[in-house]
Symmetry: none
Subunit: 232 residues, 2 copies
């Protein structure tokens, strides 16, 4: 992630946080307006401060991308029509493939007020544009970095360990169905007679369809037993 | 997007901006700490101020999700093991499909410091967790809203067709929960006293989690009423 002529230290710090949120830790900074290191950036970065400690400082964009095999430039609107314009999703897919092949990839983010200049974009292989609402396209620097980081990680391991839900087996749900059917039969629920078969089938179908856990099944047994025992 | 007990007005305003960036404009706010309207939220929202003007204000989470057919709860770590845990990508795919089928979907975001409480999560059908770096998982409220909005818009062509199921709304499921809770209270089901609160929450959580149709809800009301009337 290469921040080109960033203005506010707070935004640099927030960008560092956004990167680290998604496991990215290699930042480069090109000619920051307020010098380097920047105390406001450090304060904002808090737990992500080490990104700033290890950030590369460069005098211009050309120097910052010198060792990159592939460079993306982020812009609000594609202004340079001779380069491919990609969504973050497409760009990060490409970046992943390049990195997997041992290449170095840089992503340029422009200054807060003006964005990247044409001379910066000229150094890029491709352009990345976040598909924002055209009537309200304002994304700040740190948000752009956050979204790029999110896309990177989403495609790397978008999977969250899913809790091992203890779903009831079919036989457990059938026993639940038996319990309810017998009790409801005794309570005269299946009335009138002509509709009884259909009502029973619907009830069975409900127990079968709902993703009941073993605990749910126990609860549903227990509550019916308790109501029969104590109320009426 | 439902902000539950948000603390800082600035974050509410930033969340509004993040929503509008991705074309979302329906916000609900539950019991904001500093009252409503909030001048700091308005100042931060700037161009997205109309979201705040039209935001719904609710006294509690239950009221805020009452008319929703499907509710997602965002959490940093999945704590409630019986509900499906989805990535933003999976959740927004599901949300798009539901909305395309004419359903109302709510996404709960918790207070800055503490996140959603278990009682809030109990009202949700599923949990959404952003796959952040486990060593640096800090995402603020506005960033979470931004990422959800980004995912919503990224999936411009939602692909999962959802059958036209007549899902019950949250308020219908809450009324079902009320009915069972009151009846079971009278039946002495919530015993011992020390476990009563937890038992009630588990039961609420079960009704919220199961994809109950309107017909299921009617059946579950009816069978309990009939058992109480005729048995015991």
């Amino acid at each position: 992630m290469i921040l080109v002529r960033p203005q506010m230290g707070e935004n640099i710090g927030a960008a560092a946080r956004g990167m680290l949120n998604f496991g990215l830790d290699r930042m480069r900074v090109v000619a920051p307006r307020d010098g380097w290191p920047n105390p406001r950036a450090v304060a904002m970065a808090s737990g992500a401060g080490r990104l700033l400690d290890h950030a590369g400082l460069f005098p211009d964009t050309a120097a910052a991308v010198a060792d990159c095999h592939y460079v993306f430039a982020t812009t609000a609107r594609p202004r340079e029509l001779t380069k491919p314009v990609l969504t973050p999703e497409e760009a990060m897919a490409q970046a992943r493939a390049l990195v997997a092949a041992g290449k170095r990839v840089g992503i340029l983010f422009g200054p807060e007020r003006t964005g990247l200049e044409n001379d910066d974009i000229a150094l890029a292989n491709a352009i990345v544009t976040v598909p924002v609402n055209p009537d309200f396209p304002s994304l700040n620097l740190a948000q752009c970095v956050l979204l790029a980081g999110y896309e990177w990680r989403r495609q790397t391991d978008g999977t969250i360990p899913v809790p091992d839900i203890d779903l009831a087996t079919a036989i457990e749900r059938q026993h639940l169905g038996d319990h309810y059917e017998e009790t409801l039969e005794a309570a005269g629920f299946f009335f009138p007679e002509t509709k009884a078969a259909n009502m029973k089938r619907n009830l069975r179908s409900m127990w079968a369809r709902l993703p009941l856990t073993r605990a749910d099944v126990q609860t549903l047994h227990g509550l019916l037993r308790q109501v029969v025992r104590r109320l009426g």
